[in-house]
């Protein structure tokens, strides 16, 4: 069983999420990414970033996602088509990672488009925030953007059979 507490974040720091829905988001995030999520990207940074992303979503999408987070937490899963779960499962945030992933799998593979739409909505929020964070790039061997990184600009030969540097760029000189 998990403690149900993932992140310290106050309501004054959030525009769209509540501190409660932030806990659910982290519980879902861990189910999506894995147990080492918080070691790679701190939950607090993740929650604040998702809250920022929600600024740009249209109202309907944002409200649906907030409703989905509440539904998952309060286990009103019949509403999103999963049927009643055993009462001992309690709240989503308190479930073991294995059980949280089981619920995620049911959403992912659900027969109703409603279930799968929630899966996609959560996927969009969680993956864009986690993989948008440079801390997640190490295991991808992705060295990030090239603007500020001459090693990236000049080090890789992404043009096969072509040893030319990408550009002889003298930061002090004209381009």
């Amino acid at each position: 069983m998990a403690t149900g507490h993932y992140v310290d974040v106050g309501s004054s720091e959030l525009t769209h999420l509540s501190p409660r829905s932030a806990q659910v988001l982290c519980a879902l995030g861990e189910a999506f990414i894995g147990a080492d999520f918080r070691q790679i990207v701190p939950f607090r940074r993740f929650v604040l970033d998702v809250d920022d992303l929600m600024n740009y979503q249209k109202t309907e999408t944002r409200e649906d996602l907030k409703t989905g987070l509440n539904a998952v937490q309060s286990m009103l899963l019949r509403w999103i088509g999963l049927g009643l779960f055993p009462p001992e499962w309690g709240r989503y945030t308190h479930l073991s990672l294995e059980k949280r992933q089981d619920i995620l799998r049911r959403l992912q593979e659900g027969d109703s488009s409603n279930q799968r739409q929630f899966y996609m909505g959560f996927n969009n929020l969680i993956c864009s925030s986690f993989y948008g964070d440079p801390a997640s790039w190490t295991e991808l061997q992705y060295e990030g953007v090239s603007v500020d990184d001459q090693c990236v600009l000049q080090g890789h030969r992404w043009r096969p059979d072509d040893a030319r540097p990408v550009e002889k760029c003298d930061p002090a000189g004209p381009c």
């Binding site: 992303l53 593979e109 996927n123 500020d148 992404w158 550009e167 381009c175």
Partner: protein
């Protein structure tokens, strides 16, 4: 006197402006019209919902031009795309990627340039009573090619190289897809806005040139962070354009703008934005928003034994058109792409250890192919409809046609074969459950692919139609001279006028049609119109008449 940019987020009071023309949208249609109408001496106001992309020297030196375009996917998607790049069709089946910034789609596209396919123009002429031939459009296409430095760039990334190897092995033809770049740095960041201004987009060409016209020309004012709510009509005449200024994060500031057009309004807000404005204006035409089309994009990833660095290099400059043409216009172009962590993760339908493994493998040894599937040619099928939510936000409902489903599945099969022929160890499909194919004998696994929401990840970067053009007033919203039917002073100049999908990356077609539209508008109001870049160009045989 040079023009000016007003940043809507900074405006502290309600404003009322007047000009000859109000242009709504600053993308491929709006940028062209701004320049050409101002050149003709008309005073122009351009309203852009998205933010400006200020030009500042970055801390890395003079090479780092656009400091605010710093290639970070997550931040740039929010700043530059509609709904922070999370816009979906109403059933969640398609991720709809559209620009929402100064320069619109031209700022964020992958710089791929193709002319309008002859077969598509023939179809439009035959079924929609238009007269758009390649011969007629050639001067406009030549202008676009010369002005935007469109050329074939032979610096390929590994995705392109793998496509070449696969096509060679299978005996398929392939060709270098032209780009509108000048001295490209190959950073791979076209989709998040070119930070070096090497992509010849609207914010590099049309709009700065319009702002810097000599004194004799019409003055240009651009208002960014300005969302148009509606046009107010008095009978057939649009009397004003009502807009709201927006904060950086797209919420209204509470300050409003009214623009009074002395001569007319040009709607260039794109294939979802333009119909949405007309719907909010309660303009009387039941066809508004109907017949909206997309190019459904199918994607697959090849996994190779060697490192490929798929995030870097020119993303889209190689293609095969061998499957583009078929009888029912459901063919597809296979083009190359780049691996970007956020976009890949968002479209991947896996989670947990499988997601992590896929992301890790394909980010270092992957090569990506996309198929833009043609669509919109079944005249008995109701493809897409733009409607309004209760709060006025646009929604796109899209219905895949049977022939498209067949074509899209075939595109997955052919892309898989190309990767395998290029010696891929595996080919990954973003389906639910995901499929990895390791040999031709496993191609049958693709029979399991179902094109339903969250069963197969699909996206589109080309939205067209919704205010379709035609010669018959009973089945079109816009007349062949780009004038909005039932209106005296509104023109529609963007991809929303396409009667069907295009069957090619659309920016060159939109630019060319916008030049044609600008010539009509100038003619209607006695303004001079000229093309300035008519040098012969060997690309697409533009050196012959």
């Amino acid at each position: 006197m040079p023009g000016q940019i007003i940043h809507g987020r900074d405006v502290a009071e309600d404003r009322r402006l007047e000009a000859d023309f109000c242009i709504v949208g600053s993308g491929a249609g709006g940028g062209v019209c701004a320049l050409k109408l101002a050149q003709a001496g008309f005073e122009v106001i351009v309203l852009e919902e998205g933010p400006d992309v200020p030009k500042q020297t970055g801390h890395g030196g003079p090479c780092h031009v656009r400091r605010t375009l710093e290639e970070r996917e997550a931040r740039m998607y929010r700043r530059l795309y509609q709904e922070g790049a999370s816009r979906l069709t109403s059933d969640f089946q398609f991720l709809v990627l559209q620009g929402r910034c100064l320069g619109g789609g031209t700022t964020v596209n992958w710089s791929a340039c193709l002319p309008p396919p002859r077969s598509t123009l023939d179809f439009w002429n035959q079924h929609f009573e238009l007269d758009l031939s390649l011969d007629q459009l050639t001067p406009f296409i030549r202008e676009v090619v010369n002005y935007l430095h469109i050329h074939r760039d032979d610096r390929f990334n590994q995705s392109a190289q793998k496509l070449v190897e696969g096509c060679r092995a299978l005996g398929l033809s392939f060709e270098n897809l032209p780009n509108n770049t000048l001295d490209c740095r190959e950073c791979g960041s076209c989709g998040t806005g070119c930070p070096y201004d090497r992509k010849q987009s609207g914010i590099v060409k049309w709009l700065p040139d319009a702002l810097n016209l000599p004194e004799a020309a019409g003055r240009v004012t651009i208002c960014t962070d300005t969302r148009v709510v509606r046009l107010d009509f008095d009978g057939r005449t649009a009397r004003s354009v009502q807009a709201r200024f927006l904060h950086e994060k797209t919420q209204p500031t509470g300050r409003n703008l009214t623009v009074v057009p002395r001569l007319g309004v040009v709607l260039s807000a794109g294939a979802i934005g333009t119909p949405a404005i007309l719907l909010r204006s309660e303009f009387p035409n039941d066809l508004i928003g109907r017949y909206t089309h997309i190019h459904p994009v199918t994607i697959c990833f090849g996994l190779y034994p060697d490192q490929t660095f798929p995030a870097y290099g020119v993303p889209d400059n190689m293609m095969t058109a061998d499957f583009a043409e078929n009888e029912d216009h459901t063919g597809y172009l296979i083009e190359t792409g780049s691996f970007f962590p956020v976009m890949t993760a968002v479209t991947t339908l896996d989670f947990g250890s499988r997601l992590r493994r896929v992301m890790s493998d394909y980010s270092s040894r992957g090569a990506i192919t996309y198929a833009h599937n043609n669509s919109g040619f079944d005249l008995n099928w109701d493809y897409g409809t733009v409607t309004l939510a209760g709060n006025g936000d646009p929604e796109l409902e899209y219905r895949l046609q049977a022939g498209n489903r067949t074509g899209m599945k075939d595109s997955l099969r052919q892309m898989t074969r190309i990767h395998l022929a290029a010696q891929a160890e595996a080919v990954y499909h973003i389906t639910n459950p995901s499929i990895e194919i390791r040999s031709e004998s496993e191609l049958g696994l693709l029979d399991q692919v179902v094109f339903e929401p969250a069963r197969t990840s699909l996206l589109t970067v080309h939205v067209m139609g919704g205010s379709r053009m035609g010669g018959n007033p009973h089945n079109s919203v816009v007349a062949p001279d780009f004038r909005l039917r039932k209106s005296d002073n509104v023109w529609v100049v963007d991809g929303s006028v396409f009667p069907t999908g295009l069957g090619a990356n659309p920016q060159v077609t939109i630019y060319s049609l916008a030049l044609l539209a600008a010539s009509h508008i100038c003619q209607a109001h006695g303004g001079p119109f000229r093309l300035d870049h008519q040098e012969p160009n060997p690309l697409w045989q533009l050196d012959t008449t």
